[in-house]
Symmetry: C2
Subunit: 337 residues, 2 copies
């Protein structure tokens, strides 16, 4: 029993209902001034005709898009894929948190070739706010844009004096925790695997150094700039381990993915983990449960992290001023140390 004249807009529905477009709008949208009776009548009519008001028109009038942009800058390493498990995990959590609050999530990977990728996005008018996952090496850009564009929050490390609002875990503490754990386990020669170009990684390395200094063994550290991307630096890790005249007995990996590569390289070299070499990861991703052996790691609580990001962003959209959040990472001991 579909009526011939298809209802394309609010005006058509108004004609059928015998009221004005304005009334239909009030009936369908807000809790405007309208009688209970007509509201229900019109809503029923809309349901019957499968009519839904045009969102683009609404957006134009309301001056908001109902969407949040999630940007993943891949600055420091060209080969990196979004496929990094860390991003994916975070993305899923953000998707849930945003959906709950009634926002869409529009995803963009950006390779910052020029300096105004973020400006362009902020001014594009496509989104009501922006979440950037990972500072990469773009701290300067983030600070500059944050100074003029309010609805912007960033996942990543916090550094003194930064302008932008960030949510992240204490990477220095995390690096410290990881390293201290290895020291407690008796490691004497510790290697840090990770490219310290991104701020977060540099901070983890700093924490690592702190722990060693505190234990009075500042010279026990060697470093290898393994890429974060899965697969990119695998051969590099293997080569490094093979070439080392003295194999480290403890490896602090800058991410779980790097730790995984290290585990495999060690297995192929015939080194026992944790017998000869202990390995600790960083992130606390689910995949750490599936490695052989299961990966000890420093866990960031990404769930509350994602919720914080969304919460802060929405408050900023509402005009509030918010300050950064630093969460404490947590040691998860499994079988690799």
């Amino acid at each position: 029993m579909t009526e011939r004249p298809r209802i394309r807009n609010i005006a058509d529905l108004a004609k059928i209902a015998g009221v004005s477009p304005g009334t239909v709008s009030r009936a369908l949208s807000g809790a405007g001034l309208i009688s209970q009776k007509t509201r229900e009548r019109i809503q029923a009519l809309a349901r019957e005709h499968e009519f839904r008001p045009n969102i683009m028109a609404r957006n134009l009038r309301i001056q908001r898009t109902g969407a949040i942009g999630v940007l993943i800058p891949l600055g420091h390493e060209t080969g990196q894929h979004i496929s990094d498990p860390f991003f994916i995990t975070m993305l899923g959590l953000l998707a849930d948190a945003l959906t709950e609050r009634g926002y869409d999530l529009v995803l963009s990977r950006v390779i910052p070739t020029d300096d105004d990728w973020l400006d362009r996005y902020a001014d594009s008018g496509r989104v009501d706010g922006i979440i950037v996952i990972g500072q990469s090496d773009q701290s300067a850009v983030l600070d500059r844009v944050a100074a003029r564009y309010r609805p912007l929050v960033v996942w990543g490390g916090h550094s003194r004096g930064q302008v932008h609002c960030s949510v992240g875990s204490d990477n220095i503490a995390g690096g410290d925790i990881a390293t201290s754990h290895l020291i407690e386990r008796g490691c004497k020669r510790i290697a840090f695997f990770g490219d310290p170009t991104p701020l977060e990684i540099a901070q983890r390395l700093e924490g690592c150094r702190n722990a060693l200094a505190r234990a009075d063994m500042p010279d026990a550290l060697s470093t290898f700039p393994a890429h974060l991307a899965a697969g990119v630096s695998d051969s590099g890790i293997a080569d490094y381990l093979e070439a080392a005249d003295e194999l480290p007995d403890g490896i602090v990996a800058a991410s779980d993915v790097i730790a995984m590569s290290a585990l495999r390289a060690l297995a192929e070299l015939g080194r026992a983990v944790p017998g000869q070499v202990k390995v600790i990861g960083y992130d606390g991703l689910a995949l750490g449960e599936h490695t052989v052996p299961r990966l000890t790691t420093v866990k960031q609580d990404l769930n509350t992290g994602a919720r914080n990001l969304v919460d802060l962003l929405l408050r900023r959209i509402a005009g509030e001023d918010t300050s950064s959040v630093v969460m404490m990472p947590e040691l998860v001991v499994r079988l690799s140390t």
Copy 2:
């Protein structure tokens, strides 16, 4: 030297430039009928004032959003996260392919509680087209909506007589390839790990049976409905392997993630891979390179898959009629078999 009167819309710019709003529109957007001179003059003016036309207004007038919805139905298992590496990989590739074609990607996870989740999304007017990743157990819904909503493509298996347009690999052939490989390697007792509720998995299992039948060993198969989600069925896999009176000597995993769980469970049981048990995965994800031992797998070419999805969708948006695409999976032999 920013002018005091901020340029908020095309009319303001027009006033400054001394032309009509229409002319400004033509200068900034399409290659409409306009002289080279004025176009450049206006574009320069726009740049100088950092003016960008309002996208929502444009969308309303043009009647398109410039966005594609990517939906991930999580029907068959409640606990599943978007964090599944397969989704992430696909998502990244789609993000790239869509960006290249000038579209935004809006991401939604859906838990199909009711039957019209897809209808609601299609009619929401938020996107110009929809890509659904994975049929889950929602084939009926997909077919019903596809019958009336054209711009819809689905990643997943193809079944005879389906209404919706899909892109995917030949899961039956894939299951066959995996199983045949194990048979060639001399396996006599083969176990299939995976919950066959989703169509894709059921097809892989079917291929598995085909290969066994062809080899005249139809009774060599046992099955265990491991969940796709990382971590969910780990203990299950371990229990199953422990309880089995006769350990299989070949495992066909329905995904790389499941294979990873199996590898770890076997390691903890002290079984040698590939010595005592051979394991083959499915998907060809990057993480298969990092397992111990490196995972033999059936690889789906997700890159061209993603490009196909986008290509078909855009052609459907343009009004074309497209038929489904089935790609051939490929055996990648590494060290686990």
